[in-house]
Symmetry: C2
Subunit: 299 residues, 2 copies
């Protein structure tokens, strides 16, 4: 059973207990473009106490650099090397695990942030934001040249997804022997500032369905994201906590990584998901209504 | 085990045995825009012997009337009342099973043929080929007005599918209480003239994934399509045969309807799918390489 936190002594104890704080962002620090009340003060308070702060996001539409701008715009202190996004982790996975030969390339269903991280890791790609693939014109295989050097298809959230992109990706995955099928993350929805919209998992769903097979997923809850963090940051799992709003990504990710978990109720998960007869089987160590609650130790 | 047909006496016996012949079209009578050799002669031969001929297709991009034009263009005799398409069956299902109150409407992810069948059944709809929804511009809920009268989302093959359509459909399915989720069919792929492309099942996959629930499917192998045929045509199941190229749609459909089944190998299914260690558990009554084989009784 989760422990409910509510008093300032609860929060003081929590802060004492953990040195490394991993934060999901959407639904934890902000909702769309609106900051969660108190989030900035809590991060500041953790930094003042010399805590290590990391931001671990499945959002693959932004590179770490462009994600940093989002922090800046919202007035939240963050440094590029504290940010771990699924686009970055995907690029690192391709370069350090798949190690594609240098003539090989990736076909991208995704946006500029994913492309930017691939470029930074020196991975050639096609598709993505190429205007030729951002089209609702009809697609025919009659005029399609299969590029034999495409050795992986990478799919992230792409709000310009269309039948041409899906059809091309499908050709590579079925006709180029051994072509890898990667997704940045499997979130079924994402919280926009005005409500839920289909997430990255929904964008790759047509390919899963047409292929009848699941991709390798990089973002939370997959261990790949954690491998990526561990390669760069030293932390003691017994003194680390993952803070998130989503049971099947954030909390599962923390548990798989052997760190403690704190659920906040400012995002996807609501009270009914964690209590009563239909409660999830994924049980966080701690629950509080908002990250802003931790301010109470200063009062 | 299936019986392999190869001699002219095999085919003569088959033709004697069945009075009603249900044909899938793509992969059986034609591949894309190319007729299967001998298909026209075999249909002619069946008609001469006073057999009842029906065309049962999951293709929901065309209405029966526009499908009839495809037959005409390929020089294949067919009558509109012999054609059962999943777009038509979907419209009939909405009007005769769902019986939506007259102020209610349907949100369509699909093409002109599906819209035409809805119109013919007097079902109001939005979405579909509306230019406002055929866009790759970014979609925000900030500027979206939820129509409270949308009582069903219908999804078929739509080569103009995009994030706006998926997002709108997702809103109706999550925010309009009791909104029905229908798909014309669940084919994972479809055989274009130049190879396989993602099918209608792939188009609805993002919604399944984002919702975490399966839709009601109308086309083969669902019984709904058969109900639609039975309401219009009288046939004796013991003297009826379904001819198809796809085990998990055509053959399963025939079996569920208690009719005999003939698999042809001119479409999706190949020899390795029906023999050896990885053979499918769906076993047709008869197998022949092509519908054209039945011509041999005339030799």
């Amino acid at each position: 059973m989760s422990r409910r936190l509510s008093s300032s002594s609860d929060y003081a104890e929590l802060i004492d207990k953990y040195d490394t704080w991993m934060f999901d962002c959407d639904g934890v620090l902000w909702q769309g473009d609106n900051l969660i009340e108190g989030a900035v003060q809590v991060l500041q308070l953790l930094r003042e106490r010399k805590k290590k702060v990391l931001f671990v996001t499945n959002n693959a539409t932004k590179s770490r650099k462009s994600y940093k701008k989002k922090f800046d715009n919202l007035g939240v202190e963050a440094h590029v090397d504290e940010i771990y996004g699924s686009a970055y982790a995907t690029a690192v996975y391709i370069s350090s695990v798949l190690k594609l030969p240098k003539e090989k390339k990736v076909y991208v269903i995704g946006m500029a942030g994913l492309e930017e991280e691939l470029r930074e890791e020196g991975i050639p790609y096609i598709g993505g934001t190429d205007p030729a693939d951002i089209t609702l014109e009809s697609f025919s295989l009659e005029h399609f040249d299969l590029d034999p050097n495409v050795a992986a298809v990478v799919c992230g959230l792409d709000t310009t997804v269309n039948y041409t992109k899906l059809s091309k990706a499908f050709q590579y995955l079925t006709r180029n022997p051994g072509c890898h099928f990667l997704v940045t993350n499997e979130d079924s929805t994402y919280p926009s500032g005005h409500g839920l919209l289909p997430g990255a998992g929904a964008i790759s769903a047509p390919l899963r369905y047409a292929l009848g097979k699941d991709p390798t997923s990089i973002g939370k809850p997959a261990k790949t994201m954690l491998d990526c963090i561990q390669a760069k940051v030293h932390y003691d799992p017994t003194r680390t906590i993952m803070v998130g709003d989503r049971l099947n990504t954030d909390i599962l990710f923390g548990q798989a990584g052997g760190v403690s978990t704190l659920l906040v109720l400012t995002g996807i998960t609501s009270e009914k998901d964690i209590t009563g007869p239909n409660a999830s089987t994924i049980v966080p160590d701690f629950v509080t209504s908002s990250i802003g609650d931790l301010r109470s130790i200063d009062k």
